[in-house]
Symmetry: C2
Subunit: 288 residues, 2 copies
Amino acid sequence: MEATKTHIVHGGTLRYLKHDSVTTGTSMTLSVFVPAGEGPFPVLIWLSGLTCSEDNFTTKAGAYRAAAEQGLIIVAPDTSPRGPDLKGRAVADDAAYDLGQGAGFYVDATETPWAPHFRMETYVVEELIALIDAGFPTTKTRSISGHSMGGHGALTLALRHPELFKSVSAFAPIASPTRCAWGEKAFTAYLGEDRSLWDAHDAAKLVEAGAGQNPGGAGAFDDILIDQGDADGFLVDQLKPELLVAAAKAAGQTLTLRMQPGYDHSYFFMASFIADHIGFHAKRLKTS
Amino acid sequence: MEATKTHIVHGGTLRYLKHDSVTTGTSMTLSVFVPAGEGPFPVLIWLSGLTCSEDNFTTKAGAYRAAAEQGLIIVAPDTSPRGPDLKGRAVADDAAYDLGQGAGFYVDATETPWAPHFRMETYVVEELIALIDAGFPTTKTRSISGHSMGGHGALTLALRHPELFKSVSAFAPIASPTRCAWGEKAFTAYLGEDRSLWDAHDAAKLVEAGAGQNPGGAGAFDDILIDQGDADGFLVDQLKPELLVAAAKAAGQTLTLRMQPGYDHSYFFMASFIADHIGFHAKRLKTS
């Protein structure tokens, strides 16, 4: 990994990094905040939403004060591969903001033209985690959170790989992508027309099916924290947290949905509550 | 004033606004954060640096958590007029980042082609203050701070108009623009070749001359807080806080310069210490 920029912030060290990814076959960018001190520190992975790179969260969320106080490393990857690839070939893209570059949806694409590079699930749960544990003073324990498309990513990656994460939270997640236009468009493109393959990447359907629960019945995640602004313009048509709440209730999964009055879909919303999420994860990472 | 965007953040209301300015003869933009509650609230005016609009501070400084806690309104104007003007005529600009639009230097230009629109001192100390006091629940008391060119602006406007401000602070200010390339270029363009007219807009020279001090000798400002990163690439050639420290010592003006180890010129530096500055101003605004 090569640091392209380094800043001191809240006493810790923030690096913008890039590396050649064996998973995506492209150069991938990310930011990593490491608190002051020797560590080792637990890790919070942050997944961003549509159109974002690692820079949006890094500059706008105001997350590092709380991360410094709690002693957490925060890792923010980009939201997709971007071109050209490592062999100089063009990486697939789409003119729309909600498909292709900047819109990887945290799945491994199986369809043309996306399959060769758009492998964001494997990138995050295998390559990124290994890279961070190898390159930084981590405890080798981690949690995951994200916003919108990244909230979908955080929830589905945690539910599909509960052994990797101590806790999961989300801001305004796409709670059931199989039942909204953003998700239907992306899953058709990345996973194909067979909808039966989509449910394994839908947070509400995963919860409903008991994903992330221990065999004994108690949830692997003692709670899932969701913040959602009630003035969010995407709430009704795209985000649909009520589907996740209903699934959690049916499955016996504790889930806390906080409807935040007046808040919208912007980083101002996230900045207002990011310290709560960092505290939620720190508590679970430190007692594990 | 017309709100172009409104967000709830940390329980308060953040508005991006624009208005037709009688001072600059252009449309001017700004952001205003008002904490939750009825007020009235004291005001902190924030002046940004070269190339910035009101958006950089608003999205990146992470200032509103502390402002909400302390009950302060924060006002962030743009850094210059921008074209076209209210009569549809072009507003002067320069291809360089350090002159013209985005680089108003908080002076009233006397020279061609800048004089008709570049009147940022009068804009801030007369029109902006009146507009804020008329449009928002303020206590009609205020303080001022800023970064780099905006730190120069905060210091010089406070020293030139001490009756308007309860306190002043700055991040990495251009401490003596008459003695650095940025300032010499801007002052030549805006104020003309006669350097004797420049000193009245140079923080170090103003302090040295006793500006901002009460007739009895005690400073109008009991302290001036300056944060400066020691890894700031502009420190040695452009910012020169040592000239301000020497002037303050000679004049008997209390000034606290905090050299922050490892910090650079970015908003990550400001985000790390903005809560200290908000606390510094809140203490003085609330006891006045």
